[in-house]
Subunit: 426 residues, 2 copies
Amino acid sequence: MTTQLLSARKGEITREMETAARSENVAVDHIQAGILDGSIVITRNNRRAIDGLAIGAGLRVKVNANFGSSRDDADMENELCKMRVAIAAGADAVMDLSTGGDIGLIRKTALAGCAVPMGTVPIYQCAADLLADGKHLMDMTADEMLAAIERHGRDGVDFITIHCGVTKESVKRLSDEGRLLDIVSRGGAIHAKWIEYHREENPLYARFDELVEIAREYDMTLSLGDGLRPGCLADATDRAQVQETIVLGELAARARKAGAQVMIEGPGHMPMDQIAANMKLQKRLCGGAPFYVLGPLVTDIAPGYDHITSAIGGAIAAMSGADFLCYVTPAEHLRLPTPEDVRQGVIAARIAGHAADIARGLPGARQRDDDMARARKRLDWTAQINLSLDPETARRRREETAPADESVCTMCASLCSIKTGSQPVS
Amino acid sequence: MTTQLLSARKGEITREMETAARSENVAVDHIQAGILDGSIVITRNNRRAIDGLAIGAGLRVKVNANFGSSRDDADMENELCKMRVAIAAGADAVMDLSTGGDIGLIRKTALAGCAVPMGTVPIYQCAADLLADGKHLMDMTADEMLAAIERHGRDGVDFITIHCGVTKESVKRLSDEGRLLDIVSRGGAIHAKWIEYHREENPLYARFDELVEIAREYDMTLSLGDGLRPGCLADATDRAQVQETIVLGELAARARKAGAQVMIEGPGHMPMDQIAANMKLQKRLCGGAPFYVLGPLVTDIAPGYDHITSAIGGAIAAMSGADFLCYVTPAEHLRLPTPEDVRQGVIAARIAGHAADIARGLPGARQRDDDMARARKRLDWTAQINLSLDPETARRRREETAPADESVCTMCASLCSIKTGSQPVS
């Protein structure tokens, strides 16, 4: 068993590199070189029979969708439905964030039916299992944390979020400076509290080398989580956030040196004017590692519409260097999402990613847009519908109000500008 | 009868300037100076008994919502309903773009029930009336165009879009360079075709001084329309678009000199990476006039979701200098919007405007976001709902799935990070 990175280091071109190069329409050398210098990962557990997903420099921006049970809502079928809805809507990867019911069974069943890379957050299972056993979160042991990671790797998980940047040092900086909303990452809150309770260093930091060994065994990509990400605009780009990024940069270098693939996670909630600087900072501090961002949400006051607030932030982030967008659904801050929330979230994130691909000048990214423009000029509605990101929704909206003249729509009717412009003058 | 600009020139502080200063929480001198140098307008027809709306430099970004009949759908009550829905959702201004049914009656009825500034596009009425009479669009006379403007002013319309930058010169540049999608503005297409058919200059350009006189009489703000705005990404920032902006800048200076208030309209469809440069260009070419943008839509392939594509573009535009966002609804490119489309469009545009206010550092803009962060930290759900941009939607989404523990939500349940973080360690 080897990793894409170790193969690249030996000068090998793997089947996964070739598949990625074809799907991205780039030279396989670009993929190999990117894996070698850490600016690209191909996420795929070496026990899984799926195509890997390449994420990083010079590639199409990718979209991840979360699903997963909670203690309040642990219906496995419903969660598997969300996974399928997400993939059907075009998610490039999914994460099973289950924290309720039989978490292991959900994960294994999901993996068996999932043709795209799947990520998890192993600490969630540690925590949920403890609570289910009537124990306290602080009873969690370092060995349990590592065992959960090993179990997820063995099950075939393709990438995991681990909060190893939540250290004594970064947590101290957080409490010294103070925050409006403290820690909003579940994993981050658990590790910070654990450090405080046990007066010991975060085991995922202290025993990082063991963790890297597990990751390397399965070629499970490490997604270094931002446990201290800002949860509101006021906390964005504070010392704790930046301190954590520095630590993550150091750990990324160590993981890479040991042959494990690694990406970095980022904010969170952030005013628009800070986003570009944050992307630049992360890329520099973390040696160009692929950047996986949640949001950023550009205002805190739009619960019910956070797929839109995060599409704005995600688009700017991706234009400024982020490589992988974690979707946010309209349910964020309010409830576990429904399948329809999931669909809305994926579409919004795909819009953001696609707009960024165009802005970044990714070769060929504008092709479908140009085809749409041509279809509009021809007043070819069938082509317009088919070229849409979500053809079904576009078709339904058009059909709900039928125009008298089939060549136009009910908005402009006889005053359609395309029609006016194409009429002969004489 | 005078205008805000002529009053400012005489050193007067009007009641409207005072009201605007209070509502924006800025010094009235700032408003007066902005009107004087053309960087601020207060839009309000001097026959209307409403508060004016100040738009421009150093002020909160404003949102406009369109409503109005088309030939396919000319139910006045339905359009008035959309107007009310838009205002209830927080639109700062509305435009009646009616092109079907009794357009004059719809306008007068709407104005009578509209407490915010209302704009129109007089050429739409000219065109619709001609077609209703069985005539050809090209039969339109210059006198009819000016008469429509006069009629709208007399009725109390607060601002009008006029496409006077569609000139022989700019249209020639458009056809010389060629476009994927030609002209997508209804007014722009009519004027361009009129120029071609009559082999004469656009009357709204040739007789601009008469037009300014009408505007001045009613203090009806001139919104210099971008009839040649790009309708797809491929056409963005082409010579025709920039040529038109140059002409609009010249006309803005003439209007201002004559004492009329003026703002400029902008794109359209545009890749994200071109937006900031376009805002800078417009401000420089048009002497700092308030910029009223439609979109920009940052991809062409998302019909059904263009409130999102335009929220992304609008947020970046406003962060980069745009002052007034015209909403786009999920119905754009597909049909005349429904009242619910209108509501969705207004909320999306308000998110964009608010995010930009924060990014621009508008004093106090983040207050409500900070209050939301505090409410989240307290797990105070009543406050969170009340602080939401759309409390009803937030409340409904939360109530649809009730958490077992009322202090959290069904997403994280017992693993809520705020709850974990606030627990005592011992």
